[in-house]
C-alpha cells in the first residue's frame, strides 16, 4: 500500500515537473503560432551539425520575413532512411510538403511520381534558372524539365594535412593528383613518421566507388548510367574500377593506408584523426570543408581535386549532395509555400552563407560576389577548390550521376566490397561478387516494379 503511494506520488511529481518546465519554456512559441493562421510547410531534411543549424536559421528568418507560411524543418535521419520515409508516408498526414532527397535517389523519386516538378513553379514565376550552376541543375532535370531544385551540392574532394606534410618534408600534392602522387606521398609520410602517422584513408563509401568510375570516364550501369532508360546491369569489374581498387589495396598492403570502416561514425573518427595530425590524406565530401576549416590552423588544410588514374586526364566527378522536392500530396497553397521557401534558399546571400557554414557549394552564380564568400576565400583560398572542380567539369553521361533505382542497396554492396578489399581479398573476386549480387537484385527489382526498356 505504502509502496504504491510512493510510486504514484513520484510519477506524479515527475510528470508535473516535466509538464511545468516544458510548457513554461514553450508557451510563447505556441501562442504566436496559434495567433496567426499560417500555412505549415513541413520540411524534411537530412542535414546534421552545422547544416542542420543553418537550415533552422534559414527557416526562422523566412518565417520572420513573411506571415503567410511557417516552415518547420524536421531532421529525418540519413539520406537512405529519408527516401523510404518519403515514399512510405506519401498521401498521409505525416508526409512533408517539402523534402530533401539525395543525388542518387533522383531516378527513384522521378519514377515514384510523388512530387510536383519544380519546373511548374519556375514557369509560373518565370524564375531565372540561369543563375543556378548548370552542372548542378542538370543532375536533377530530365528532358528539359527541372524535377527538383539542387540545394546542397558537394564534390568529392581530397584533403591533406599540410602541417604533417611539412613536418616530414613531403612535397605538397598537385591540385589534380594522380593515384601515384597520392600513393607516393602516403608512403613517404608513413615511412618518415615510422608509422606514427598514417598516410591515407579512403572511407569505404559507395559514393567514392562511383566517383572513381566517373573520374575515369567509365559507366557503371548500362543504358549510359541510366540516362537512356532503365539500367538492367552494372559493371564493377571493368579495368577502371579494378585499377582504383588495386591502388587502394596496394597502399593498404604497404602499410600507408588506414581503414576507419564505413558509415557516419567512421567519417567522424577519420576527421578527428586527420585533425589531430595522425592522418595525412583523406577523401571527404567538400561538405566537410566548414567543419575542417573551423578546426584546422589557417594554411594547414590542403585541398585538391578528386584523384585521377595514372596517366589519364580526369573526366570530372559527379556532384554529390541532395536536392529539394515538392510533394504532390499537399494542396496548392502549401506547394506554393514550399516553392517560396526554395526560392528564398536559393537567394545569392543565402547560398553564400550556406557555403560558408557547411562547405556545400553555393549554387547561385551571384553568390560568388557576396561579401561572405569573398571574405571566406580571402581567409581560406582552398575553399574555392571544390567550386573550381565543379566548374571545369564538362557534363557527360559518366559524370552526371547514375539514374538507377536501388542505389542504396548498391552502396551497401560496394561498400562491403571495398572493406573486403581493404582486408586483403582478391580485388577481382570481391568486385565480381558485388556485381553479381547487385545484378540479381536489379533484375528482381525491375521485374517487381514492372520496369522494362521497350
Amino acid at each position: 500500500m505504502n509502496k504504491r503511494l510512493w510510486i504514484t506520488s513520484i510519477i506524479g511529481v515527475i510528470v508535473l515537473a516535466v509538464f511545468g518546465v516544458f510548457f513554461s519554456a514553450h508557451s510563447n512559441a505556441d501562442q504566436s503560432a496559434q495567433s496567426n493562421q499560417r500555412i505549415k510547410i513541413i520540411f524534411w531534411h537530412e542535414m546534421t551539425g552545422p547544416g542542420a543549424d543553418q537550415i533552422q536559421q534559414f527557416a526562422d528568418n523566412f518565417n520572420k520575413k513573411q506571415t503567410k507560411y511557417e516552415v518547420v524543418p524536421e531532421y529525418e535521419g540519413s539520406y537512405n532512411q529519408a527516401i523510404q520515409k518519403v515514399l512510405q508516408t506519401h498521401g498521409t498526414n505525416a508526409s512533408p510538403a517539402l523534402f530533401q532527397s539525395m543525388d542518387v535517389s533522383t531516378g527513384q523519386m522521378r519514377n515514384a511520381n510523388i512530387t510536383t516538378p519544380v519546373q511548374k513553379f519556375i514557369d509560373e514565376d518565370k524564375y531565372d534558372m540561369d543563375k543556378i550552376m548548370p552542372a548542378a541543375r542538370a543532375f536533377y532535370s530530365k528532358d528539359g524539365q527541372q524535377l527538383s531544385m539542387p540545394f546542397n551540392t558537394s564534390q568529392p574532394t581530397l584533403f591533406y594535412n599540410k602541417a604533417v606534410f611539412k613536418k616530414y618534408g613531403v612535397k605538397d600534392l598537385p591540385t589534380d593528383p594522380s593515384y601515384d602522387d597520392i600513393k607516393n606521398a602516403a608512403k613517404e609520410i608513413t615511412d618518415k613518421s615510422k608509422g606514427a602517422v598514417k598516410g591515407v584513408t579512403v572511407d569505404a563509401y559507395g559514393w567514392y566507388f562511383e566517383e572513381f568510375m566517373a573520374n575515369s570516364g567509365q559507366t557503371l550501369a548500362n543504358m549510359d548510367d541510366g540516362h537512356d532508360g532503365f539500367p538492367t546491369k552494372v559493371d564493377f569489374t571493368n579495368q577502371a574500377t579494378v585499377n582504383a581498387m588495386n591502388w587502394l589495396q596496394e597502399m593498404n598492403k604497404n602499410g600507408s593506408f588506414i581503414s576507419f570502416g564505413s558509415g557516419s561514425t567512421s567519417a567522424s573518427n577519420e576527421i578527428a584523426s586527420f585533425l589531430s595530425g595522425k592522418l595525412g590524406i583523406m577523401l571527404q565530401s567538400s561538405a566537410s570543408m566548414g567543419q575542417l576549416e573551423a578546426a584546422a590552423k589557417p594554411g594547414d588544410l590542403g585541398v585538391t581535386y578528386y584523384p585521377r588514374p595514372n596517366g589519364q586526364k580526369s573526366n570530372g566527378v559527379a556532384i554529390g549532395g541532395a536536392s529539394l522536392w515538392i510533394s504532390n500530396d499537399k494542396d496548392s497553397a502549401t506547394q506554393r509555400g514550399a516553392w517560396e521557401f526554395i526560392k528564398y534558399l536559393m537567394q545569392p546571400e543565402n547560398q553564400a552563407q550556406w557555403q560558408k557554414a557547411t562547405g556545400y557549394i553555393a549554387l547561385n552564380k551571384d553568390s560568388q560576389t557576396e561579401p561572405v564568400l569573398k571574405e571566406l576565400y580571402k581567409q581560406h583560398p582552398e575553399a574555392q577548390v571544390p567550386s573550381n572542380q565543379l566548374a571545369r567539369t564538362k557534363p557527360n553521361a559518366t559524370n552526371s550521376g547514375i539514374l538507377m533505382e536501388g542505389l542504396v542497396q548498391m552502396r551497401t554492396i560496394t561498400q562491403n566490397a571495398m572493406q573486403q578489399i581493404y582486408a586483403g581479398r582478391n580485388v577481382n573476386d570481391a568486385l565480381k561478387d558485388a556485381e553479381n549480387q547487385f545484378n540479381s537484385y536489379l533484375a528482381q527489382h525491375n521485374k517487381a516494379n514492372g520496369y522494362s526498356n521497350k
Binding site: 509502496k3 504504491r4 510512493w6 510510486i7 513520484i10 510519477i11 515527475i14 510528470v15 516535466v18 509538464f19 518546465v21 516544458f22 519554456a25 514553450h26 513541413i42 524534411w44 546534421t48 551539425g49 542542420a52 518547420v72 524536421e74 531532421y75 529525418e76 535521419g77 540519413s78 520515409k85 512510405q88 508516408t89 498521409t92 498526414n93 505525416a94 512533408p96 557516419s264 561514425t265 567522424s268 576527421i271 578527428a272
Partner: protein, 282 residues
C-alpha cells in the same frame, strides 16, 4: 550461497579481512555495473571541449543541461514518452485483465481455442510484423501521432497470460459466493478480481511502462516530427545529428532521460523481483 556465513566462522580477526575483500568485490562489481552510467553522468557535467580532447578532467558545470533543455526538444521527448507510456500501461492492464477474466471466469464455446490463439501470439515477434503493421497504421492515417504508438500495444498475450495465472489463484468459493449474491461479472471483476490480484497488476503495470518507455523500433518508424517523438527515437535523432559536436550535451540529455525510469525501477524493485519470478516461472 551464503559466503558471509562461511567467513564469519573463521575467527574474528580473519573475519574482518575477508569481509573487506567481499566489500571490495562487491564494489568492483557495482562499478562495472554502473560504470557506463557514472561515466555518462560525469561527462554530462564536463565542457564538451575537454571531452573531445579525451580528458575526463575539467571544471564541472550545469551548462550541458541548460543547453540540452534550451536547444533540444529533450523535454518534449520526455513528455511524449510519458503520455504514450502511461496510456499504454493503463490500457494494457485494463484490456489484459479483462481478457484474463474471460479465460478464467467466463464459460463459453471456444474458450480454449481462443486461449491457445492468445498463447500463439507470444511466438510471433512484433519485429517480424513491422512491415504490414506500418502499412496498416498508414492506411488508418495514424502515422506521426500518439495513437500510432499506443493502439497496437493496448493488449498483450504476455500480460493476459500473467494475469490469468494470477486470477487462477482466486479461490473458486469467491466466485460461487458472488454468484449466489448475484454479482454481475463486471461487479465481480471490478470489486473482487482486480483488488485480489493487485500485486500482479502492479507488476504488469511497471513492466508495461518500462517496455513502453524502452520501445525503440516502432516509434522510430512511425514518428516523423519532434512533436511526437518519444525519448528513444528522440535520442537517436539527437545522437545522429550531434555526435561529434556536443558529447556533453548528449550525455546530459541521456541522463535526463534515464532518471524517470531509474526512479520507477528503484521504487518498484521489490515486487518486480517477486512478480517476475511468480509470473514467469510458476
Amino acid at each position: 550461497m551464503d559466503i558471509a556465513n562461511s567467513s564469519q566462522r573463521i575467527g574474528k580477526h580473519k573475519f574482518k579481512i575477508s569481509n573487506f575483500l567481499q566489500y571490495l568485490l562487491l564494489i568492483i562489481l557495482a562499478l562495472i555495473v554502473i560504470g557506463p552510467f557514472l561515466l555518462g553522468l560525469w561527462t554530462s557535467f564536463l565542457p564538451t571541449s575537454s571531452i573531445t580532447k579525451g580528458s575526463l578532467a575539467g571544471s564541472l558545470t550545469f551548462d550541458n543541461y541548460v543547453t540540452a533543455v534550451q536547444t533540444t526538444p529533450v523535454l518534449r521527448y520526455l513528455l511524449n514518452s510519458f503520455i504514450v507510456s502511461i496510456i499504454r500501461t493503463v490500457g494494457e492492464v485494463l484490456l489484459c485483465s479483462m481478457a484474463a477474466y474471460a479465460f478464467v471466469f467466463l464459460k463459453f464455446k471456444g474458450r480454449n481455442f481462443i486461449f491457445y490463439l492468445f498463447l500463439a501470439t507470444m511466438m510471433l515477434p512484433f519485429e517480424a510484423e513491422v512491415i504490414p503493421n506500418f502499412m496498416t497504421v498508414k492506411s488508418m492515417n495514424l502515422l506521426n501521432t500518439y495513437s500510432v504508438m499506443i493502439i497496437p500495444f493496448l493488449t498483450s498475450a504476455f500480460g493476459t497470460f500473467m494475469l490469468r495465472q494470477s486470477f487462477l489463484q482466486i479461490p473458486t468459493d469467491l466466485k460461487e459466493e458472488s454468484d449466489v449474491e448475484g454479482l454481475s461479472h463486471f461487479q465481480f471483476y471490478w470489486h473482487v478480481v482486480l483488488p485480489y490480484s493487485k500485486i500482479t497488476l502492479l507488476t504488469l503495470a511497471a513492466y508495461s511502462f518500462l517496455s513502453s518507455w524502452n520501445e525503440y523500433l516502432w516509434p522510430m518508424l512511425t514518428t516523423f516530427s519532434d512533436q511526437y517523438r518519444t525519448v528513444q527515437a528522440g535520442l537517436r535523432q539527437m545522437q545522429s545529428t550531434e555526435t561529434f559536436n556536443n558529447w556533453g550535451m548528449i550525455m546530459a540529455s541521456a541522463v535526463i532521460v534515464v532518471i524517470p525510469t531509474l526512479i520507477i525501477l528503484f521504487v518498484g524493485q521489490h515486487f518486480f523481483k517477486s512478480g517476475l519470478n511468480d509470473g514467469s516461472v510458476k
